[in-house]
Symmetry: D3
Subunit: 309 residues, 6 copies
């Protein structure tokens, strides 16, 4: 259950409203690197957390913070869309090409759909889509997803900070960038608790003996003849998890060309796709193979649909 | 530029075709944890790579491998949709409730749209959407995104392996799980080359002096009175990057309640939203504040649209 | 800024875990009628609210409540995915066709992607997409959007309640359905404060004299000859807003067939689409009309792109 | 079944073609507040209408009208993309910054994908997605969804009207805004027939005695200590439906912190998430609770997949 | 402008309602091969048609027909969701495993969201997305898109027909399949009028002399050594358009490895990505190349945003 | 399995970097007419190909080529985002309105999300969505989909070529346009092998005797009285497939108005929707009809969910 005092976590001030900057800020709200993403990701990881309770609590606390960051940025967008008095006083009016250009790039839906307020969309007006929420049930996998989110998030923040000279906006970013620093650290701290690199690969509860070990630490390359493979930490020496030796191999196909069955009647392929068609020999269909869906499972699907059992 | 020999990287064999397992396999093709995602992510990271050439080459090589994994899994789906002769021989026909149940859960589009073949969709038939491709221009951020992808990818693979007893399918997974192990290691190896934890926070090219340092290593909690904050590696001791000390603080709002301007005429808010409306005192609109979009920038947008400059 | 105590607003108990019901519950989390939708809609309306402060506060409070409802439902999903001990005790094991059928319909991603936890998706596994958040800047329009959301939300809740006999789940619904009742009432109360039906049409700040009044209260029908138009409150008598008289008219086209210009060279239409093509007479292109994009604006676009000004 | 005479419902004339305005107009075609949305929403409500026939007919008639509005707006877009002869005559050529700015903001796909014609996308080029069609089977819920659609629709229309000085475009809007007025009235008229506020809450066929009545008219707030709750029509006095008394309460958590089971083996959580992990005491897993998916239902899923019943 | 008589173009009768078949039918409504797609595609092609008027009229007429097909199929879905009396009379009740299995696969949103009616979604519940509407401004390109739509549409129809034994449904399909036959023919007839194969390539208004002719009729293959290229009509003999000779070549890279510039400061790449990093030699950055975005255009973007011109 | 040499299929050179052109180029990468679409479409068609092996091989070869085209275009985007030195030398600096305008239109995510590199999105920043991949299992249907893709693809290429004067870019397009020419020819060649127009309609394996023949070659029009139907190749003479005679008919409704059952209790329609409601006579519900979902199938769904069989 949640509570609010209606206040901002950190002051949001816009000295020179700028509708194009408002558009840019949307990336930090509804972009894949933005705050809706981290808030919702941590919430869903918390609500589904199994194992030590402290990780659930940690996720829930930080999710609650991120919700406040969406609030801050939405306020920043609204303020950037208010009448740009200071800009006008500087003499940059409608006849100034720079202002014209600026307006040409603003998000039309900030006016048309929202009447001067933030929307849960990115800098191109594409709505955030919750398929970006990663909550896998494996804590280590989730932590890497979280570090990735905070890394692209802090990167976005530094770029947005770079694009403005507004003192209010720069002050806001100095706070939000610091929080991203902490959140990167925080999820790395969990990984350290979970055993660090030695606890890899993820998931570590899968018995590694069941994987084909000769490929587990092999750096395979797919260059044509004469291509030099890239060398580095990954091509030689002990693996990061300490369970193997990195070594380089040129990849070879271990399988043949796949052979599918002929199309079944129920699939309504072109007549020419079945035996005796224009490219009759060789067929991909193998006479020793059963027919595809239709000969087998499709008939049963029909039986089921028509109630004949 | 790319080449193919038409062969599979590793043999794909299905002993007992199973249309419901075909549906499950789709998650590894078009799911967010799947092979299209990693192939395309590594390709776009490679094509936009700036900095040492070897990382570009590494990304390009591994992307090329992942393309072959989509091929393997698509073949596995097609084979699982072919007539389930072995199942029939075991005597599980149309009148068997287990088979009926199995069919009830299959993806109808495997027949309706594809005629018994794989599609670039997930296990629920939702198409893969390229917004999931992360390629940020920052190599370390990208590496964490890649480890996250390979971690959720290997986790998915172990779960799909768990759901089958088909020897062919289990053999395929023993290979693909091993490759995911290597790919996790590989991206971790790049991070080690890039300086490891000491090279954090990401991006490390942003001068950390510009962030509000007092919040960079503070573990903030948002519990109501009486809530116990979770303690761990993140709440005490040196930070992972060695640049600060973790410490716990109870979060306090540093900002006030935000005050937006009154709605402008051009926004066509309800009349009751402007001064003197039903909740007239206090207003959120501040008379000392400029009007919002419409009083200022909106008029200019109109001027521009109507060609009056 | 937000706070949490980690507790649930109302107890969530599942007596007989049921993975198919878990799938159904997803509609109330990530469906268009679900809780993410209302939480985010009220948040964005609050953060962009202009006019009397009390409406902003009201929206913010209720958004905060709805966040707790997502939490409750996510917990309900997780509990429904836990081992169905009671079901097993009732003797419905793997060999029972009813259980088999039930499993055939469960969301495979509950296992594959989430490891037995809720996801921000609907009952078909389609992720929630933030384009469903309506926050228009007009308070009355937003209130109608909110009533619509709470109406479809309560409707969904009654249907989900109908589908279960689990005492825990039914108890949860008795609470959530009551809250939907209140939220419907709440937004209707705001509309009453804003003037009720007399304050229509929305937006009421647009001077109604600028619309073509003869069509403002005309019930137009489009039936072919002999079709009887539906009669009701809308076809006769004073309008709901008291500003006009409803009356019925059979719609007539007031415009002609539209005539577009010929395609320009820059559009690379087929050669046959220009004058003298196979259907040369009559052309849709009007010689008195300027050419389309390409003859005019497209050339300028090219000039701009090539830096020639 | 449908018919057409190829004519426009109302004349569409563009005096000064303007490609940026063409982009803005797209919001009224493919935006969530646009005409595709209402046309399709009314069609699907009509085709699934159950109950008195006249509502089905009413929905079908209005849907048919809205289809003609998409036609009008698509024509308006095409005409705005034709060679801007008048603009050129006014002397605003390629070297004019205002024209340059205008072009900078146009939708590139109007040229690249459509060759100077309308597309079913919004003002940012995002395609309309049919998940926005609400047709719930409950007539009152649908009516509120329709009023919401017509309210945001008319709001959008007034904003688009505000952005243009083109006499042709303004004439078109004077008609379309009037129709939105009528459609708001029309759906309100249906609600009046259905009983008005007394017929609430929606759905009114659910026995209200089954909801926890003490929460049905309680205005709950979630402020931290010292926060003043917003007062208004919703916090005191009889409810709008006349079935209860509004009253204010400060929300209290009625549930505890949720406790999920330990992760099962089949979920492949990290080893550290199970008992004895780094945060071993206290666990979120409750030994008295059954295991989650995997211990129970997941084994059955596997049994089913592997044909062992 | 459009009209309706409320009747169905062809009778829709369901003898044995079947909710799983209702789900399958959704593919023909909201699937990419379905009727919303063709209706909307033809409408948008018509509304943007330039050139001979008769093609516009043809598209408009057929679009109007397709709208009636959505109506027929939506009716079919609603009827399939009504109480399956006949099925019950045949004795297939709740205790029958076949019925259980059938229900396990039905679309839960048919009940939860629609209360027993059609939705604009596909057989997996994924909403139709208007990005599938192709209307390019080139009549021949559009015709091929239309034939593709009618081909996958008729294929889907034959598969849906295959899955049912219901006489009413089979009768409906016998009509709809015939209409798909005609629509394939119709668009082929337009292509014949436009000049047939001799009028290729599309667009034929682009001067073919501007393309690199040596690649225009070359069948390039990308096999590794030893791979046999597929031979057929495409590898030898005159081209279909009669303007060239097909011939086979083994593809060779004509370009080098691409070299991008070093990352600029403004892009906040990792420090290690710039010169002197861990893989310092060779760099992908070329000292003779200008810096990327940030050195050049990014600074200007900032200047613009900060109003300094 | 796939291989790469890291080289470009054809040289990609940008003489005057242009960020707005970079945005336009995105349409050819992630647009529906772009290269990701064709690459993935041909791959999935190949991996699911049944019938003569040579078509599988042909599809696989061309898919492999298209992958290299994505690589070329991604390189072109990255190069267009590098510091526009030549432009600067021409004297078009930050104070130049043309440059300002250009920047106003660039994709902000090229900087914010990618740091100056290509993304898998279209010219409006909308990510490519794999639902656009058509692979139907019917070779002829797929070929038409492929010709449509190559036709809109070549059309897009000519338009992008038109928008640039950059010699490097124009050289690249002269190659890519030629390849599109070949690919159109190639798929047409397959159709010729499959029997050409005589092998229609698609699918030709469906017995045409099962369709209602009187509608198979009838050109139906839906004009109101007085509307002239468009005449052409489609309205008279032998059909293209030689199996019928084209003829014109004015469409007549052959079905009645559809009648659905009354809403069931379980659907929670408004009380007023059932018999005796405000529009009680006539009802759409037919007393001779079974109740809808809920009376029948819905009860069973509940039984199943509650384990009562």
């Amino acid at each position: 259950m949640f509570y609010t005092d209606g206040k901002l976590q950190y002051p949001v001030r816009v000295d020179s409203p700028n509708p194009l900057y408002a558009k840019m800020l949307q990336q930090a709200i509804g972009g894949i690197e933005g705050e809706i993403r981290v808030a919702m990701q941590y919430f869903f990881q918390a609500w589904g957390a199994r194992g030590p309770k402290k990780y659930r609590d940690l996720l829930l606390q930080t999710a609650t913070e991120e919700l406040g960051h969406i609030e801050m940025l939405s306020t920043a967008v609204a303020l950037n869309l208010e009448g740009s008095k200071p800009a006008v006083e500087k003499g940059v009016g409608a006849s100034n090409p720079a202002i014209q250009a600026m307006l040409g790039g603003q998000d039309p839906r900030h006016y048309l759909s929202a009447g001067a307020a933030a929307m849960p969309v990115d800098a191109n007006g594409v709505a955030f889509d919750m398929s970006h929420i990663y909550a896998s049930g494996n804590l280590a996998a989730d932590m890497y997803a979280n570090i990735a989110a905070e890394s692209t998030g802090r990167l976005l923040a530094t770029r947005l900070n770079e694009l403005t000279d507004d003192p209010g906006m720069k002050d806001m970013w100095s706070f939000l960038i610091a929080r991203d620093t902490m959140h990167q650290q925080q999820w790395l701290a969990v990984l350290e608790e979970l055993g660090g690199p030695q606890a890899l690969p993820i998931p570590n509860s899968f018995p590694q003996g069941q994987e084909k070990g000769e490929f587990s630490y092999a750096f395979l390359t797919y260059g044509t003849e004469g291509t030099t493979p890239p060398e580095g930490r990954w091509s030689d020496g002990p693996s990061i998890d300490g369970r193997g030796e990195f070594h380089h191999e040129i990849a070879q196909p271990l399988g043949d060309e796949p052979v599918l069955s002929s199309p079944s009647d129920a699939s309504f392929a072109q007549t020419e796709q079945v035996k005796g068609g224009p490219g009759a020999s060789p067929l991909s269909g193998n006479p020793d193979r059963p027919e595809q869906m239709g000969g087998g499972t499709m008939d049963k699907l029909k039986d089921k649909l028509t109630g004949e059992s």
